[in-house]
């Protein structure tokens, strides 16, 4: 079983590597949106640093959302998804492998890119570790929750918009706690509560999302 899961993980990562163009898209989106802010809104460093957590978070989430639509699409179209659902390895674990590798190739690079962009928005350097931690948790949660939406919409030809509408409400709490943790930290107020809530949401999503995703895939594939 572990062997099968290791092979699944290897397959996902090697496929991600061979479909590099799909992955560059969200990263460039993130880069462009964030770097347009100082140009488009204001070059005033004080105002920028006030907006920085929100801008970085929103841009990172939208960027990561861009790639969610593709989470199951290729596998659905070539029939691999059917075989995964029929597999004697629990499909929930296979789906979890897919989600984790999706995070490794989108959420993690976005997180690693964020310090560079936070300089552009004059975010205080001391807030960097917290920014990266919350972004890592937030993008992971998005990959987890997003996979449910991706599973529901994979059978539709133009599921992208519907996917966004389905997922966004689930994501509002994450964005609230994520940005407010950083803002609280910058203003010298307690920030641990927000971070814990963010972690709790991620942990909860980690537990339920594979099951809901497989249930959704059963419906889409079984039609």
């Amino acid at each position: 079983m572990m062997l099968a899961l290791a092979q699944m993980m290897r397959r996902e990562l090697s496929l991600a590597n061979r479909r590099r163009a799909d992955l560059a898209n969200p990263l460039f989106f993130f880069l462009i949106v964030v770097s347009l802010f100082p140009i488009g809104v204001t070059p005033d460093l004080e105002k920028l640093s006030e907006m920085a957590p929100g801008v970085l978070w929103v841009a990172a989430l939208l960027a990561s959302l861009l790639s969610l639509d593709l989470l199951f699409r290729h596998d659905y179209e070539d029939g691999s998804l059917e075989q995964m659902l029929l597999s004697s390895v629990p499909p929930q674990l296979l789906v979890l492998c897919k989600i984790l590798s999706h995070w490794l190739v989108t959420g993690l690079p976005l997180t690693l890119l964020s310090p560079l962009l936070s300089v552009m928005l004059a975010l205080p350097g001391s807030a960097l570790p917290l920014l990266m931690l919350t972004l890592a948790l937030g993008t992971l949660t998005l990959s987890l929750l997003g996979s449910i939406g991706a599973a529901l919409t994979v059978g539709l030809r133009k599921g992208g918009l519907l996917l966004t509408i389905l997922i966004m409400p689930l994501f509002v709490p994450v964005i609230i706690f994520g940005t407010s943790a950083i803002q609280a930290f910058v203003n010298g107020m307690p920030w641990v509560a927000q971070l814990s809530l963010l972690g709790a949401i991620a942990a909860g999503a980690f537990v339920v999302s594979p099951w809901l995703t497989v249930a959704a895939l059963d419906v889409t594939v079984g039609d």
Partner: protein
Amino acid sequence: MTELLRAENLYCERDERVLFNHLDFSLQAGEILHVKGPNGAGKTTLLRRLVGLSWVVEGQLKWHDSLSEQGEKLDGHGFWYLAHRPAVTLQQTPLENLAFAVALHNQNLPSEAIWQALDTVGLRGYEDVPAGSLSAGQQRRVSLARLYLDMPSIKLWLLDEPFTALDVNAVRQLERRIEAFAESGGTVVMTSHHGLTHTAVRELLIGAPL
């Protein structure tokens, strides 16, 4: 002879058209069941119901204990399902595709066994070429190579139009492989417009003849 499957009172409706109704059949171990019918008769839908992917078809299915713990849904390790969509990932090589299909059965075969299977279906020299640059027939062969692996846990094949896109020789080779599998005690359910020439097969006709 063991009865592997008993299907009772199957009913399928698609877009307000009844495809089949009161369909009863059984499946014995070691037999080849050839599901026949005109295009759109519901052959693929029936196969997807048998394998447990689709619930469009209503009715009772009872699998033998050796294939299914609960009786209703097949256990993943005991069968190959070759679907209409071939489950060949175009960005991966035939070797990777086949190894992954084995991994999904929670098994591990030596890589020689996988090379051997690819060799048998005539893909020698193409093992490391991305499947996307192969021809349609060759991609089909990548999918069919699964049937040439030596996996004793596999007792049942469900083949949806396995002869599509194959050349004459490959068709004959696959026919022989299906016959050999049935002779060794394996059971095959297939849909095809192409009849098997030599072996005795049981035919299941669905849909009104046009």
